[in-house]
Symmetry: C2
Subunit: 191 residues, 2 copies
Amino acid sequence: MSSIETKEAIMNTALKMFSEKGYAAVSMRDISGEVGIRASSIYYYFKSKQDIFDALIQMVDSITDNLKDGFAKALGSTEKVKCEEFVRVGKAFVTGYLNNEKIGTILHMLETERFHDPKADEVWKNMLFTNPIENAKEVFEVLYKRKLIKDKDAARLASEYHGIIMIGYFTEDMDMLDLMLRTFHKRVFGG
Amino acid sequence: MSSIETKEAIMNTALKMFSEKGYAAVSMRDISGEVGIRASSIYYYFKSKQDIFDALIQMVDSITDNLKDGFAKALGSTEKVKCEEFVRVGKAFVTGYLNNEKIGTILHMLETERFHDPKADEVWKNMLFTNPIENAKEVFEVLYKRKLIKDKDAARLASEYHGIIMIGYFTEDMDMLDLMLRTFHKRVFGG
DNA sequence: GTCTATAAATGGATAGAC
DNA sequence: GTCTATCCATTTATAGAC
């Protein structure tokens, strides 16, 4: 295996194990064993266990920027925001993005470590709240300017919308998420 | 110190440290040092480290039942649900209950361990979602029967309401929470 | 780049004195 | 009840051979 491949294997394995067991509960031997090398070999790529974690956070931080797409692209440029499309985009954000294999694993890792790692806490909040709400806000601003909605308060609409998304994400009740999105659409876009 | 006091000190200290550092990162020596005894003395009260954690979860599980009060008592029995009162109750749930010293610490501990402890995951979801939503649902059912609201779907209203609460809790934006609660009140109870 | 070997520290847990 | 002493497994990390 080439050098770069081994390094990536270490990071992917560490991410998976940290998210399942938590940082402290995973040893260098656990990671190396899963990768198929000896623990000491990890130190050729990373100077410490913390160094692996920091590299993961940094990687995650850059991924976060690629989030905007879905909601903005799907809703910000259509003629009329149909209910079915609105509901589809909302559910896709939960099932396709938040519960995506990669993103979901990252969120789990951050969630287990965020209380004792300020950087992890910041990235977690950005991924799950700050960025999505900011993106939704921009979309609602566009929709208002294009007179597709009557409510001018884009910031509040974005927080309300994301509240629905978060309840769907945490309770995993997709039927209720569907229903709440329909009700929100009716209220904001009109019957 | 009496036997019962020492046992409580161990549990309180363990809860605090588990919530700050995570279960695996806290050693028996860490806990005993904070309590002011030797690590071996803990084994007089608990047969293992896991035993402390399990005792905490069990304690937490019983506390959860005392949750109903706030929302139900405050809103389910008044003549008319005034906006100010509705907003006050919602904000009090976030600042007084979820961010309460004891409850908040418990939630943090559960959140760090829930992905590798099914019982912790269950209790966490109950405390933060299942129970509050169920309680809110019962209140909205009462309010509908008393013709104080026109919307019949109490389950959906409860999820929408709790979505607002959760956004307030996670983002810590109390001004936005205030605004969303006012908007919700206007929509559901009428201007 | 990956290995073996090992240092040095820390972990959970027990035995037995007081 | 709390202590000292200790066992034994496991941990992070390094040194140096290949």
